[in-house]
């Protein structure tokens, strides 16, 4: 049996080598035929060292471009990730939804989300927010890094990183406007303007968006009778980006204001919770200013940044039969990152830097309660604040030797005033020749407890960070000029998991348990001028310390799709997402045996489609069809409603206007 597999593998390898022999000349012929404007849009298949994002060398990286966002009609960050390998979701159809990368369920605090390199994870919880508050029409591309990356980014970079790169004035000048509306009162208004003066070397870009939607109807039967017909379930978001440059200086400012109902957080039927009147309002403000100094071999990028993520004081977290609860939780951070990049000779590049951060975090929510379900509470009190200082030193070097081999080694030292000292290493060995590359990575990462985790409940001063150790083997092949494939094997070991521990009548946060994930990602991408397609399959086998499958993670997920341009005026595409069976996080009582069981969420196959029309040089429109087959499917839950029904069939039309 094994010999048969080896023979098949060898045959396929030989076939691939044969196919790639004449690739170089064919590639040049095609580039020559593209013309100068086509070349400006040419995709780089293997970037030279000077153009690589050196921070990301020792990792698997996927890129989603603005063109793909537009073609597929992504509105949320979860939409965007759903067509990539390795992602699963828990959407509770309320104020937040959760993203699981490479087989680890979490509260969004194991992935770093950044806009232009500055984190937008909420400061107080460490978790990012899913949803529609990301200004995707002003994104040039999204870079998704797989695997632990604390060696360069510090705490919370356990499963991976999502970096949204905004459009810049140098390549997005003039006016762009767009508007869309569709099923479930889903509508957006977005616009942007970019100005660049190349001669005087300055420019700016400003963009904004309003997004509003009603979510999946969960009343009565549709919501497993967890809520009644009065359930409110909405999201209204405002987002703004402002960026620019003057000679070597550049700056960026992003504001996101998310307002969503929170009624789906709790079951109302048979409880004291009500279905209407809740509002979760969180605002993120990120700003940065950067200086770029470059010589032939040395780059110096000092960057000053500010982050503010506050649950605003008009938030109504929940309403019961007897009162409303109003929350307030501010948080802000200021930091400076001194990044140095040095390339003494062609085969060696070194990146290193020092980061200083000072953050002010609310110890807990400021909460005010009203005296009845109909009365709005008074303004919540300002919560007491905690201050944290962090100093980090990081270093990574890439050494190329024997022409085809690159050794990457990195180390980061963090010293926090509340979680102490942590040393995080990474090591990578890469072989790359022609159309084939193979890389071995070893990475460690951590998630530090938040300050109040040490004192919550009975308190636990011995609380340690969660740590992950990850080994990964990535093989990628360029089968021909336009077909790219990759096979990735990985094993993650998560230890010191932070979870609630019960001690008599009280509780505390403790380190308990471990989790191991063995995974496989297979991907094939086809990219031609008029045609793009992808096929991804992911296998995750995540078990706890007792070798029991962890809840909420399916062993099998897959996605596939294509987009085709039929001439200049019409384009269309289809995409499909499959998630296999997975067990729920919360136990329910079996009606037959009275046993406590994890309910199972059935597998689902969801198909989406889109059609685009170019109406004129400045005007185009798209029609998006989501869940075309109107499949009834559910996501897992880690709270009393056992499962959450997901998006029904919907249609949306979007009009876009561009004037340069």
């Amino acid at each position: 049996m094994r010999i048969s597999w080896i023979r098949t593998f060898a045959s396929v390898t030989l076939l691939l080598l044969a196919i790639s022999t004449n690739a170089q000349n064919a590639e040049l012929d095609a580039l020559l035929n593209a013309g100068i404007e086509g070349l400006l849009d040419a995709e780089i298949v293997s970037a030279s060292k000077s153009k690589q994002q050196i921070k990301d060398v020792a990792a698997t990286v996927q890129v989603v471009t603005q063109k793909e966002i537009k073609e597929r009609g992504y509105q949320t960050i979860e939409d965007l990730l759903s067509d990539l390998p390795g992602f699963q979701f828990r959407n509770i159809q309320g104020f937040n939804s959760y993203v699981f990368q490479r087989g680890i369920a979490n509260q969004n605090n194991l992935i770093l989300v950044m806009i232009d390199g500055v984190q937008v994870n909420e400061l107080n919880s460490g978790g990012f927010y899913g949803g529609g508050q990301y200004l995707l029409s002003n994104i040039a591309q999204v870079e998704i890094v797989y695997g632990p990356a604390s060696a360069l980014y510090g705490t919370n970079a356990i499963s991976g990183i999502i970096n949204l790169i905004t459009r810049k004035e140098t390549d997005s000048q003039g006016v762009n406007l767009s508007s869309s509306f569709g099923s479930f009162n889903n509508y957006t208004l977005a616009g942007g303007y970019g100005y660049n003066n190349a001669n005087k070397d300055y420019g700016f870009r400003v963009a904004g968006q309003y997004f509003s939607t009603q979510k999946t109807p969960l009343t009565n039967d549709d919501g497993d009778n967890n809520w009644d017909e009065n359930l409110e379930n909405f999201e209204h978001d405002v987002a703004c980006d402002f960026s620019g440059h003057y000679k070597q200086f550049s700056f960026g400012l992003n504001v996101q204001d998310k307002r969503a109902s929170r009624a789906t957080n709790y079951r109302s039927t048979g409880t004291h919770y009500l279905d209407q009147g809740t509002l979760w309002n969180i605002r993120f403000i990120n700003g940065q200013i950067q200086y770029n100094y470059a010589t032939e071999k040395y780059l110096f990028n000092p960057r000053l940044y500010y982050r503010n993520s506050s649950v605003r004081n008009n938030t109504i977290a929940y309403i019961t039969d007897t009162s409303q609860a109003r929350y307030f939780r501010p948080g802000n951070l200021i930091g400076i990152d001194l990044v140095n990049q040095y390339q003494p000779f062609k085969q060696l590049s070194i990146i290193g830097g020092i980061t200083f951060e000072n953050e002010n975090l609310a110890k807990d929510y400021g909460i005010s309660l009203s005296g009845s379900a109909n009365e709005k509470p008074a303004e919540p009190p300002q919560p007491s604040m905690m201050n944290n200082n962090l100093i980090s030193v990081y270093f990574q070097s890439d050494l190329n030797f024997l022409k085809y081999i690159t050794l990457t080694a990195g180390l980061r030292y963090d010293n926090s005033s509340y979680y102490g000292e942590i040393l995080t290493p990474r090591l990578s060995l890469a072989f790359s020749k022609g159309k084939f590359s193979s890389r071995l990575h070893y990475n460690e990462a951590f998630r530090a407890p938040k300050p109040w985790d040490f004192t919550a409940g009975a308190g636990n001063e011995e609380l340690k960070p969660e740590k992950i150790k990850s080994a990964e083997w990535i093989n990628s092949f360029t089968f021909s000029d336009f077909i790219y494939g990759s096979v990735t094997l990985y094993r993650n070991y998560l230890e010191n998991i932070i979870s609630t521990q019960v001690a008599g009548d009280t509780w505390y946060w403790g380190n308990s348990g471990e989790m191991t994930t063995n995974g496989l990602e297979l991907g094939v991408r086809i990219r031609k001028q008029d045609f793009t397609s992808w096929i991804n399959y992911t296998y995750n086998y995540s078990v706890d310390g007792s070798e029991v499958l962890v809840p909420e993670i399916s062993k099998h997920t897959a996605n596939a799709g294509f987009h085709y341009y039929l001439g200049e005026s019409l384009n269309f595409g289809l995409r499909a997402n499959y998630t296999g069976e997975r067990k729920n996080a919360s136990l329910t009582q079996s009606s037959n045996t009275n046993e406590q069981l994890f309910p199972v969420i059935d597998p689902s196959l969801i198909i989406h489609g889109s059609i685009g029309f170019t109406l004129s040089r400045t005007l185009d429109c798209s029609l998006y069809f989501n869940n075309i087959l109107d499949t009834k499917y559910y996501h897992t839950s880690n709270r009393p409603p056992d499962r959450y029904r997901q998006q029904e069939r919907s249609v949306r039309i979007e009009l876009r206007y561009k004037l340069r």
């Binding site: 590639e27 030279s48 196959l605």
Partner: protein
């Protein structure tokens, strides 16, 4: 049973995608291939002061064969305004001779100022691929913008050499000084 149905549908989609992929041309390549194709395309948008119709159009690559291989291939299959293309690789500054285009590799970026003053290159477009090289004497410099290769133009340097760049080329440049 449900799984089997999904798997069958999945493979149907795969087969469709693979067959549909044979339909159109591609635009992607290594950085060296993309830049070499740019260099060939630039010749249609540039006018040199003396345009001999019979002499070959000469491109010299200084220092690295990364550009020589794709440019040499282009020379075999393309012509510039009806003239054959001649590509030469040199590894020393002393080997420089008059040419239409000089492609300077990373190893010789320090020599840009002296190359710009070289009398033999007074009608030569100097092309580089490095940060800040546009102000150090390059006529055209490649830069990376959002993972795409773009170019910037030193119009003053071209003017001094009486080489005209078309307005269309200047418009496509990400930066003109």
């Amino acid at each position: 049973m449900l799984h089997l149905k999904y798997i069958r549908n999945f493979f149907t989609v795969i087969c469709f995608l693979l067959s549909a992929s044979q339909m159109a041309a591609q635009v992607k390549g290594t950085p060296e291939n993309i830049m070499s194709s740019f260099i060939y395309n630039f010749t249609a948008y540039l006018t040199w002061p003396v345009e001999e119709t019979k002499a070959p159009f000469k491109i010299i690559v200084l220092g690295s064969n990364e550009f020589f291989q794709p440019l040499n291939y282009i020379a075999g299959v393309k012509m510039v305004k009806g003239r054959k293309i001649e590509v030469k690789l040199i590894t020393k500054e002393s080997e420089i001779e008059p040419c239409h285009i000089l492609v300077v590799s990373e190893d010789f970026q320090k020599s840009l100022l002296t190359l710009n003053d070289n009398e033999l290159l007074h009608e030569t477009v100097i092309i580089t691929n490095c940060l800040g090289c546009l102000t150090k004497g390059a006529s055209i410099n490649f830069v990376s913008v959002n993972e795409k290769i773009h170019f910037e133009i030193n119009k003053k340097a071209l003017d001094i050499k009486s080489i005209k760049a078309s307005s269309q080329l200047l418009k496509l440049a990400v930066k003109v000084i």
